[in-house]
């Protein structure tokens, strides 16, 4: 078993794109399932102590995943991922939007972020390449809020809050 699994995370501010590459010690079909099946996805998608709660998942082109990130206090942040392209065990794409609990998309953050996920396997190691395109990097700020809620989470989040405050100050 390999222990030197690759993890690469880069942000290209010019193209407003985030590139993420990660290897996993598992065969491709299992990793594919972990990204495309609700019951597995909900086990890892939300950084603890948050919980990912998928209400609707219809993994097909034109289908969607409607889910919430739930904080320990029970606060819910809803998102909708609309699948735009699926090549089984190779690639899938979706557009992600923030919404309310009734699936109404938040117009403030439209047109949403575009996700492109690629899967490949070599010698039992599966590599996943993710690109996320955002219209603006401020939207990424909002994406972070969706993953780490302001309430009740770690020093990291407090640091981020402080940072955002500093960044928003004017001379």
């Amino acid at each position: 078993m390999r222990t030197d699994l690759l993890f690469d995370f880069t942000v290209d501010k010019a193209t407003k794109t985030v590139f993420i590459v990660r290897e996993f010690n598992a065969e491709l079909s299992l990793v594919w399932d972990a990204f495309t099946k609700q019951e597995i996805l909900d086990q890892w998608w939300a950084p603890k102590p948050h919980v990912s709660k998928t209400k609707i998942m219809d993994f097909k082109v034109g289908g969607r995943r409607f889910y919430a990130m739930v904080s320990p206090e029970g606060q819910e942040r809803w998102s909708i991922q609309n699948y735009t392209s699926i090549s089984p065990k190779t690639n899938f794409k979706f557009v992600s939007n923030f919404s309310d609990k009734d699936e109404n998309i938040d117009p403030q953050w439209q047109p949403g972020s575009q996700w492109d996920l690629n899967f490949s396997e070599q010698n039992g190691t599966t590599k996943v390449r993710i690109t996320i395109y955002n219209e603006s990097l401020t939207r990424m700020e909002k994406m972070i809020e969706g993953g780490f809620f302001k309430e009740g989470v770690t020093m990291q989040m407090n640091n981020l809050d402080n940072l955002l405050t500093i960044l928003s100050q004017r001379p």
């Binding site: 993890f7 942000v11 010019a14 996993f24 890892w44 939300a46 990424m140 972070i144 993953g147 100050q169």
Partner: protein, 106 residues
């Protein structure tokens, strides 16, 4: 009006200005010589960067010199690191889930 710092660095000309003045403090005229655009356009970019605290001004005689606020740029990197950490946490969780499923299959 709140200036959006990420919007500020999303502009290619402003990023080029940042790269220029990261090396040395420069006057608006000296900066403008590096671009095929008007002095007015450069001034506007400099004003936006100043409003975001990304650059600072210093007067030397009649000239204004612009230089980069290195600390501010570091803050942006710190912020991006938060995003990276989310993915690290997420993937560590996925590693555990995958290993559990593999054991169940055996």
């Amino acid at each position: 009006m709140r200036r959006d710092i990420f919007q500020a660095i999303a502009d290619p000309t402003r990023r080029a200005i940042i790269a220029l003045i990261a090396l040395q403090a420069m006057t608006p005229n000296a900066i403008a010589e590096n671009f095929n655009t008007s002095r007015q356009a450069i001034s506007k970019h400099l004003r936006i960067l100043t409003e975001c605290d990304l650059v600072k001004q210093a007067y030397q005689g009649r000239e204004i010199y612009y230089s980069l606020e290195i600390e501010k740029m570091k803050e942006i990197d710190k912020w991006l690191n938060q995003f990276r950490k989310i993915w690290e946490t997420r993937f560590t969780q996925l590693d555990k889930v995958l290993s559990t499923i593999k054991k169940q299959k055996k």
